[in-house]
Structure formats: structure tokens, C-alpha cells
Amino acid sequence: MKQNEVAFKIAGEAGQGLNVSTLNLARTFTRKGFHAFLLTDNPNSIKLEPTWCSLRVSTSLIASQTERIDVLVALKTDAVLRYQAEVSDDGFIIYDEDAVNPEGEKQLAGIKYLPVPLSRIANTMKAPDLIRNTIALGGFLALIDYHPAGMKEIIAEVFARKGEAIVNQNISALEAGFNFVQNNYGSFIRKRLPEENGPARLFLTGNDALSLGAIKAGCKLLAAYPMTPASPILHYIASKEREYQIVVKHTEDEIAAMNMVIGANFAGVRAMTCTSGGGFSLMVEALGMAAQSETPVVVVVGQRPGPSTGQPTHTGQGELQFLISASQGEFPRIIIAPGDATETFRETFNAFNLAEKFQVPVLILTDKYLAESYTDWSELKDDDLKIDRGKLLTEAQLSAEQNYLRYQITSDGISPRSIPSQQNGIHVATSYEHDESGWYQEDPAGVKKMYDKRFAKMPFILKEMKEPKLYGPDEAQITLLAWGSTKGPVLEALERLANEGIAANLVHLTYLWPLPVEALSGLIKNAQKTIMIEGNYTGQLAQVIRQETGLKIDHILTKYNGQPFYPAEICAKVKEVL
């Protein structure tokens, strides 16, 4: 076990409120200035299926979960069996002695198995089964010798709307667990964390960050159909729709959502939709319409493992190539895959600017891991975020126009845009191939011009694609490449490798399409050895890089079992190929 850091996991089954309890625990620490990372695991069922939630707390910055647990709380027997191998040699398993029986099973050496009568305590309190979590968390706090006051405060806040009785019951439960461990397992108690680590930190998910970025960007309409892992964006923004004067529409399907968003953008309002791969599949047709009509649009795609329904509540990075070439015909689009919550916030804001500036679809590619994991921020930094609506004409500019052409051919391919209600900007936006005015174009030469006009945006878009970022030492024995949410585990791996004397660095891509070819090629060519880390089967970014640059990444570590990467796997692979 490390000092100044604790890794915790609670395991039971769906419907036991593990995520909520662990979040309360996390806030106990982040409010005291600790860094934290919370990872959820949701089975595809509302109840009963095995599941867990893990939390890592540290005095210093952390970017991912770890594979080692210091303390496991087990609410079911099979939770012990499934996860005891992850517990560190000097770790603990707190289990409900009334519900869990690890005795007959093979126990692992070194680990302390600490029975606590969670069910009996709950029964005595006449409390519902769910309260076992709180009792166990009390026990956990005792074990690491951390004062329960902060947690009590949170319990009071969270349960406030359920009434005082419930608040008190939960606080008693926490105390009961705390006292039980103090009284029975005193010898194991050891202080792991200081009581404080600085000013309170924000704690939020990728979805939260994305929602905030959209609100900040002036998104005024969100139309979506629920789909894991994007639904929380719908829920969150809906909860704020009156505060920020946003219309949130749960539509009849994803087709309607996408078309509505296009309609709203056409009418001059920043609008977005969010979904997962399956819902995006239904948006593919309208995506092309946005492109042909040059209507800005922002679409969030939260990846989960496919094909098809696949594993709806797990994670993966299987949709990059799908997004690059989705929809019939060819057109410029922008794909951004933020690597962490901060990037998610900032790049979502930016996505709206880019969409309006270039009048192209902008796709934000996240995944369940990024979308639903919580990380900490010291504070909100948004002063530098400035709205840029591109070539949106004012009434004054329009009144100077003799003969307004919505699809005017310009040197940068971007045509000045009018919106309905503007006196002088009347036009027809269309999904057909068209001339500068929007009228049907079938003349081959004219068609070519208009196709060229749309693609004329590419070099200008490329200029605004942020270059891949290099993390770690400039000179390294091996260069890792990764995109989107894989950033966190790789950063942690770099640190571990450095500790072992291996100089590795990371080229991380957030702006994926159009691929920032020049900068990327330079970085790859400079590398001694390269390895791509991707959450899919075929190595999609590696393929895209080869397609665009001809460069072949030397090695590749893929993962497609529904789980995020763990730093240890990355370290192991690096050592294997070195």
C-alpha cells in the first residue's frame, strides 16, 4: 500500500446504490482538497446483476483508476471471489458477515478478511438493506483513521429532502460501522491520509463537464433520445433548462433529435444532440444533410462496446472510423475526442465555435469510461472561452447585400450565413446538390465547383485542429500513442515506468479528424519505438494514421472486453516490446 493514497472498491449487485454511496465518500475527500478518481461498473440491468464501484483518493494528482485495491467492501459472497485477487497483499476485505461467506472459499494470503455484521446492524436500526453501504463506509473510514465528520455533513445534505429521520438513520449507520471497526479491528487501523489537503475541489464526470461546456457555449436546444452513456447529459441539462433558458427535448427517436437540432441551428440557435453508437447510426442520414446544407451541428457520441446493442453499460473506443466516414458522399467534418473532464469541458465549448465557424458537423467522441468516471478539478477556468459565431451576418451586413447567396463560393469555402427572420437573407437551405443560391445543380462543372467549395474548408479547419500533445520526456525509449479517454491510464503508466527507469512518453490526440498529419508525423518519426493503445479490436487510429501518413505504428495494444485500460497492462506491454 502506498502512503497518502487509498484505493477503495465496493462490490455487490445492481440496485444496491453502490455508486451513490461511493460518490458521497469521494466528496468527503475532495471537499478537503484531495484528488480522487471514481470508476463505476454498471451491468445491463436495473437490479441483481453483480456490480461494483471503485474510488481512488490521493494527496497528489491522479488521472485514472488502479488495478490494486487497498480496501474492498463485499456485500455478496461472489464479490469476494471475483475481486479478492485485486486486493493488495496488505489490503483488507470488509464483508457483511451476515450475507457473505468467504470462509469456505480459498482466501488469499496477506489480505485481512474483516467480517462486519452489516445486515444485523441494519436490522437493529430497522433500516432498509441499502443502508449497509453507509455502515461499511463508516468501517472504511475507521480503518484508515479518517474523521467521519465530513461524511456526516454530506449525508445530511444528500438525504435532507428525505427528512430528518432518514438523515439521522444514515448518520447513525455511519457511526455504527465506524465504531464497530474501531472496537474490533483496532490493530489494523492506520492513518493513510492527512485530514486535509487544501481547498475544496470540484468532483465531476465527463458528462457533467460536457454539459457545462455546452451550457457555457450558449447551447439553447438539446434534443436527444436516452441512450447509455449519454443519457446523463440529457438529464443534467434538462434539470437546468429553466435556469439557463434552454429547451431540452426528449424526442421520439434519434432521427427526430438530429433533424430537430439541424432545424434549430438553421434558425440560428446553437443546438446539440447526444447519443451512443446505436443512436448515432440513426443520425447518419441527417448528418449528411447537415453537411450538404452547411448547417452547423454538434453531436456527442458516447462510445460503448458494439456491435449493435453489445454491452450497453461498458466502455470501448470502437467508433472512430465509423464517425470518420459515416453518411453517403464525402464532406468535411470535425471529430474531437477529449482525454479528460477538463478537455471535455473546453473542447465542447470549442466544438460549438468550430461548427459555426466552418458550418460543418462537429462530433464529440467520448466513451462510458470518460463520460461516467468522476475526476477532480481545483476550480472552473473559463475566462478565456469566447463565443465565435463565424460568418453569421448581421441585419446591417445583410441589408448591404444586393443578391444574397447562401452558398456563395469564397476562398475559404465558408459562405456568409443568414438566418430566418433576417429581412434580406431569404434563401433555401437544401440537402440536394445546389448552386450558390441553393437552387438545384446538375451541371457537372457546377457540381464540381460546389463540391470543391465545401472541401476548400479543409486546410482552414486543419489549422484549427489542435496538435497532438506530448506528455512525458521529450526523449524517450518508447513513445505511446493514445486518443480520447485512454489518456489517464497511460499517464499513470508513464509515471510508473519512469519510476522503474523506463523513459516513455505519450502522444495524445484529442483532435482526431481531420488528422493533424504534419505534427503527428513529426512526432512519430522522432520516436524510437511506437506503440498504440486503443480500446478496440482493429486498432482504428493506427489504421487511420497509416491511411493518412503511410506510417505504421510499431506495436499495438488493443482491448475490447468492455473494460477501460489499467495502467499495469500498459506497463506490461511496454516492457514486453522494449
Binding site: 471537499r31 475544496a200 470540484l202 468532483f203 465531476l204 457533467d208 457545462l212 451550457i215 457555457k216 457555449a217 450558449g218 439553447k220 436546444l221 433548462e241 429553466r242 435556469e243 439557463y244 433558458q245 434552454i246 429547451v247 427535448k249 424526442t251 421520439e252 427517436d253 432521427i255 427526430a256 433533424n259 430537430m260 437540432v261 439541424i262 432545424g263 434549430a264 441551428n265 438553421f266 434558425a267 440560428g268 440557435v269 443546438a271 442520414e285 441527417a286 444533410m289 446544407s293 478539478w377 472552473l380 473559463d382 463565443i387 438566418i419 430566418p420 427572420s421 433576417q422 429581412q423 437573407g425 431569404i426 434563401h427 433555401v428 437544401t430 440537402s431 440536394y432 441553393g438 438545384y440
Partner: protein
């Protein structure tokens, strides 16, 4: 007030000679004029089909979208700026075939959209396949041995689905059509106008004379027709065959979807200032 002539654009339609769409286009321009709409505050939204070409021939804003998706695009526009009058133009295939689900849901939502369905009982632009309103037995390219499905009855369906204005017109009864259309444009809520439109090229069954012989105006019936009773409207809507009723079957006043959004009370979304949204208060909820 804008005149129908002022609504003409520089382009001429290339519909077949005698196509009912010409009449619809004229009626539409007249009704826009009659209803006192302003061109820059009016948006025509269409899908794909012969009917989908309307926006190019009316000097208002226009969005020519994809097949079947007229209503969600129209809804997006209307939610973005409810000062705009939004008119949907769709074919029967577009509206009741591929677009049937949006039809259902937009009606119960009661978004203020005037929905003109150019119902020629055939797929025109794709050169003559069965449409959802084609009568049973009708032989087309996709059903050479005759359609074996019951046709959709758009009027019944709209009444059942909760539309607040439900009308059927025949483009051959031009003045009646114009008048109902004007009324629909003035309706505060979703208005369906199912327009019987002969397709002279691919539908040789439901022709002008065929309709002329059959249509009658609801208000001409003995006792007239008060379009206020949903059940009566539904019963009347069942009639199709030797006699075909046209006119307003049903109308009711109800808050629109937009009316029920406090976010839109002060001003349309499109007019709201987004230059510096302050999220600092919200952010503190993440501590």
C-alpha cells in the same frame, strides 16, 4: 401585406403538366398572403418528393431536408424561434410512410406547424410506387399485383393522435382549399391539411374527375359540421369511397408545446444573448 405575385421566385417548377402541385403552390402563396404572413418570418420546410420542391418557388425562407423528416426539422426551427411561422410541405409517402412516427408525435406535442401533405396516393418522384394512402388493390411498380394493405386514413389517425386542427382539401376545389389553408395557417397549434392532389403521370385512378365526382364539403351537409367534437369528427373521417368529405373535421384550442415552455416566455431562443453565459453558480454544485 405581401401579394402572391411578390412571393414568386425566379425559378419555375418542372412538375408534369396538369400536376396538382401547381394548384397547391398557387393556393399556398395566396394563403400566405391572405394570412398576412411576412416572408422573412415564414419558413417552408420540405422533404424529398415532387412535393418537396415547393420551398424553391415561394419567396420565404426555406429548408429542403431529407425524405420523411419534415416535422422534426420544422419543430427545431419553431423551438429556436417561435416568432416564425413554420409550414411543412410533404408528400404522402414522406408524411405517412417513412415519416409516420414524427407525424404521430408532433401531433400530440401540438407544436405550431401547418402541415401540408400533398396526398397523391403515389410515390411521384421515384416514378410510381404504392404509397400508404394508395387504395387496396392499386397496382403500381412496387405492387404490380395490387396493394394488399389497408390504406392509412390520415384524418382518422390525426384525430386519434390528438391533432388540434385536422382538415382535408381537394386542390381541384381551389377556393375552398385556399380558404381552409388560410384558416390552418392562422391556427395556434399543429394543423394537418391533407391535400388530395392528382398525380397525372403515375396515378391514373385518383384523377381530377374521380375526385370531382366524390368530394363534398363538410359544411354543405344537411345540418352542417361543427368541427368541435372529436368523436363526430372521427366518425365522419371513416367515410371514403363514393363520397369523400373535405373541409375542417376538427379543431380545438389548446396550449401549444411552445406555450408551455417558460424558457421562451421573454424571447425566442434565437434572440437570447449567448455572448457570456455565467456558469459559476452551477459549478459550485459539484463540490
Amino acid at each position: 401585406m405581401v401579394t402572391p405575385l411578390e412571393l414568386k421566385t425566379e425559378h419555375n417548377p418542372s412538375w408534369c403538366l396538369g400536376c396538382g402541385n401547381y394548384g397547391i403552390l398557387n393556393g399556398l402563396k395566396s394563403a400566405i398572403s391572405q394570412a398576412g404572413l411576412e416572408p422573412h418570418l415564414t419558413v417552408l420546410v420540405s422533404g424529398i418528393g415532387c412535393s418537396g420542391k415547393d420551398p424553391h418557388f415561394v419567396k420565404t425562407y426555406g429548408f429542403e431536408g431529407i425524405h420523411g423528416r419534415v416535422l422534426p426539422v420544422a419543430t427545431g426551427i419553431r423551438l429556436a424561434n417561435h416568432k416564425l411561422k413554420v409550414i411543412g410541405c410533404a408528400g404522402d409517402g414522406d408524411a405517412y410512410g417513412i415519416g409516420g412516427n414524427h407525424f404521430l408525435h408532433t401531433m400530440r406535442r401540438n407544436v405550431e406547424i401547418t402541415y401540408l401533405v400533398h396526398d397523391n396516393q403515389i410515390y411521384g418522384l421515384t416514378t410510381g410506387q404504392t404509397s400508404p394512402t394508395s387504395v387496396k388493390g392499386f397496382a403500381t411498380k412496387s405492387t404490380p399485383f395490387g396493394a394488399i394493405e389497408e390504406p392509412v386514413n390520415p384524418v382518422s389517425l390525426a384525430i386519434a393522435a390528438g391533432a388540434t386542427f385536422v382538415a382535408r382539401v381537394f386542390v381541384g376545389e381551389f377556393n375552398h382549399f385556399k380558404q381552409v389553408l388560410t384558416q390552418a395557417l392562422k391556427h395556434k397549434g399543429f394543423a394537418l391539411v391533407d391535400i388530395l392532389q392528382p398525380c397525372v403521370t403515375f396515378n391514373h385512378l385518383n384523377t381530377y374527375p374521380w375526385f370531382k365526382q366524390r368530394v363534398y364539403k363538410l359544411e354543405d351537409e344537411p345540418g352542417g359540421h361543427e368541427p368541435l367534437d372529436r368523436m363526430k369528427a372521427f366518425i365522419r373521417a371513416q367515410e371514403w369511397g363514393e363520397r369523400i368529405p373535405i373541409g375542417v373535421f376538427f379543431q380545438e384550442t389548446k396550449p401549444t408545446y411552445e406555450d408551455q415552455l417558460p424558457q421562451l416566455k421573454e424571447r425566442p431562443l434565437a434572440e437570447q444573448d449567448i455572448s457570456s453565459v455565467d456558469i459559476s453558480k452551477t459549478i459550485s454544485e459539484f463540490i
